[in-house]
């Protein structure tokens, strides 16, 4: 039921178990964080097909590549901050360049990790994974989308990156939602501007649009679960039809959703944009809500960005 808070990583863990039953080629790897990434469910069910690599993420990534090269479908998980950042070269050489069928599922993304602080807050992983030709990148907005994205990744050849948060998120979809790889999802229609959001920011985007509607500003809201390849058609359509775009993401401005959309519109349909994202800084310890507020990632910030961008549209 929309609104209900459900853990995306728990959903990931459970979906892995289902997949494991359906397909004996599914194998799972972790790097000493299986009770946090929730791969522990799979480990319990299929101990022979689960490989804990210890605190050696680079080795884990290489092992996953070797398993894929021999026909397995490896899912490898750890915190987001230890996947791309710790293993970029290994992923580049052992997975991206040969195009191996490895699924990297990273949990604990963004600053909503909270009290662990800056070391554990992955605010750059989308920029890094976007620099890997051939990777498909998915940022689910809720547990229902997560389950389906994980299934699509398992069923689609090639390297995938799926980004999940630590906290539970409210459902934004019903059970009958169908995730469509490569397609934006219209969460709300509107004409004055488009808000494009991913992951943890989708709920805030919808909330912002509802608030703005009360002010008489009707915004389109797009969830962009497939960050790469991005749905250029929907982006160009939004630029053309609404003339202004606000992006919202729990990531640095550099290299994330905002950067990708800016590139698309600059090449196809230049319109004013605002980016709700982490400015060029590291964050700190605190409660997720405190941090989201301090670093400008709330519905209020999106609303303010929409008001700004609309001003520039008229100018």
């Amino acid at each position: 039921m929309p609104g209900q808070e459900v853990s995306l990583r728990e959903t990931y863990g459970k979906t892995l178990v289902e997949l494991g039953k359906e397909n004996s080629d599914i194998v799972v790897l972790d790097a000493d964080l299986s009770r946090s990434t929730m791969t522990c469910f799979f480990a319990r069910e299929f101990p022979n097909r689960f490989f804990d690599c210890g605190i050696a993420e680079q080795n884990m990534v290489g092992i996953a590549a070797g398993l894929a090269a021999s026909g397995k479908i490896p899912f490898a998980s750890t915190f987001a901050v230890f996947v791309l950042g710790r293993c970029f070269d290994q992923i580049r050489m052992s997975i991206a360049q040969p195009g191996f069928n490895v699924k990297l599922v990273a949990t604990h993304c963004g600053i909503s990790v909270g009290e662990d602080g800056a070391s554990h807050q992955s605010i750059e992983d989308l920029s890094l994974v976007g620099s890997l030709p051939g990777f498909t990148v998915i940022v689910p907005a809720d547990a229902i989308e997560t389950a389906q994205a994980v299934r699509v990744a398992a069923a689609t050849r090639g390297p995938f990156y799926i980004r999940l948060p630590r906290p539970k998120l409210p459902l934004v979809y019903n059970e009958d939602y169908r995730f469509n790889l490569g397609k934006a999802v219209t969460m709300r229609s509107g004409k004055r501007a488009t808000i494009m959001a991913i992951g943890t920011m989708v709920t805030a985007a919808v909330e912002a649009a509802n608030n703005l509607a009360r002010e008489g500003i009707d915004c389109r809201v797009l969830n962009m679960p497939t960050l790469k390849p991005v749905d250029e058609v929907s982006v160009i359509k939004a630029a053309t039809e609404t003339g202004a775009i606000v992006t919202a993401e729990e990531h640095l401005e550099h290299g994330g959703l905002g950067s990708i959309i800016a590139r698309v519109v600059a090449r196809h349909r230049p319109v004013p944009m605002e980016m709700v994202a982490i400015k060029d800084t590291y964050a700190q310890s605190g409660k997720p809500a405190e941090l989201l507020q301090r670093y400008g990632l709330t519905a209020k910030d999106i609303e303010q960005a929409v008001r700004e961008v609309i001003k520039r549209k008229e100018w």
Partner: protein, 301 residues
């Protein structure tokens, strides 16, 4: 007075804060306390760790408790340092590579007088100087920003090389977790430190036998662990990591080794000192709840 006993009001620095005794003069360098005195401090550090993480509602008590005696011996026996001048160029460096043991380091630094003991209550709070993992820009006395494992030894080599270049007499101490030694970067550092013949560098491994997913030997076996360090060119000393006399002796012996770095493998118990935390992987990264805090503090009286 201990944090947990303070309720919500911020108390003044406690009267039995060691800093005053141990570092009364701003130019004091090493104060070698007796084993008995250090045992008292160790107990106080344990109480801080429980109170801080309990109050914060998150954090890493297990790997903080296992290293209490190691860090006590360092700050109250081994290190030349000046709590009043945390940037003193000739200070011995202590680098906490396993940055999740931040509560232990913060408690120790506070007890030394780097900052008020009261501040420990701010652990992991928004805008605190005491981040969830160590941050050298924010906390006086913290040498290295850490939290992603495996990086401290490399950093320490840099500090040791700088000391040698400048003909300074300081020594560099790095605390590693045993699970952390799964990381290849640790072995890159091990090889390089021996190659550079850094006899001003000491690694201490908090060999508590556990990482997050369970026992090392089940998750990723490290044994024969001492042989690994020896084969990488290190002098190895093994000690009971909860025995302060053994620890101080080991540090003294380490000073006599010339031409190679020293690894002290300290056999410890994760969660040491609190019955229900000992060898319990659940308390690696989970704070005790209010009730557990109470029981734990009672055990640590």
């Amino acid at each position: 007075m201990l944090l947990s006993e303070m309720g919500n009001s911020l108390p003044k620095a406690s009267a039995d804060n060691v800093s005053a005794e141990a570092f009364s003069s701003p130019v004091a360098e090493t104060r070698k306390l007796s084993v008995k005195e250090m045992e008292a401090i160790a107990k106080r550090l344990r109480r801080h760790i429980i109170s801080m993480t309990g109050r914060a509602g998150s954090g890493h008590p297990g790997g903080s408790l296992s290293a209490v005696e190691i860090v006590t011996a360092l700050y109250f026996w081994v290190l030349k340092h000046k709590p009043s001048d945390s940037c003193w160029s000739d200070r011995d460096r202590f680098i906490l590579s396993k940055g999740h043991a931040a509560p232990l380091l913060y408690a120790t630094l506070a007890e030394c007088g780097y900052f008020p003991v009261d501040e420990l209550t701010s652990l992991r709070r928004f805008n605190t100087r005491l981040q969830g993992h160590t941050d050298c820009l924010l906390t006086p006395g913290v040498e290295m920003t850490a939290g992603t494992l495996g990086q401290g030894l490399s950093f320490a080599i840099g500090a040791a090389l700088a000391g040698r270049l400048d003909s300074r007499k300081y020594r560099v101490y790095v605390l590693l977790g045993d699970g952390e030694c799964d990381e290849g970067q640790v072995w890159e550092g091990a090889m390089a430190a021996a190659h550079f013949k850094l006899d001003n560098l000491v690694v201490i491994v908090d060999n508590n036998g556990q990482q997050i997913d369970g026992w090392n030997r089940e998750v990723m076996n490290l044994e024969p662990f001492a042989k690994k360090w020896q084969a990488f060119g290190w002098r190895v000393i093994e000690v009971d990591g909860h025995d302060l006399a053994q620890l101080t002796q080991a540090f003294d012996r380490a000073k006599l080794v010339k031409g190679q770095p020293v690894a002290i493998i300290a056999h410890t118990i994760k969660g040491k000192g609190v019955s229900f935390m000992e060898n319990n992987p659940d308390f690696h990264g989970k704070a005790p709840n209010a009730e557990e805090v109470e029981i734990a503090l009672k055990e640590l009286e």
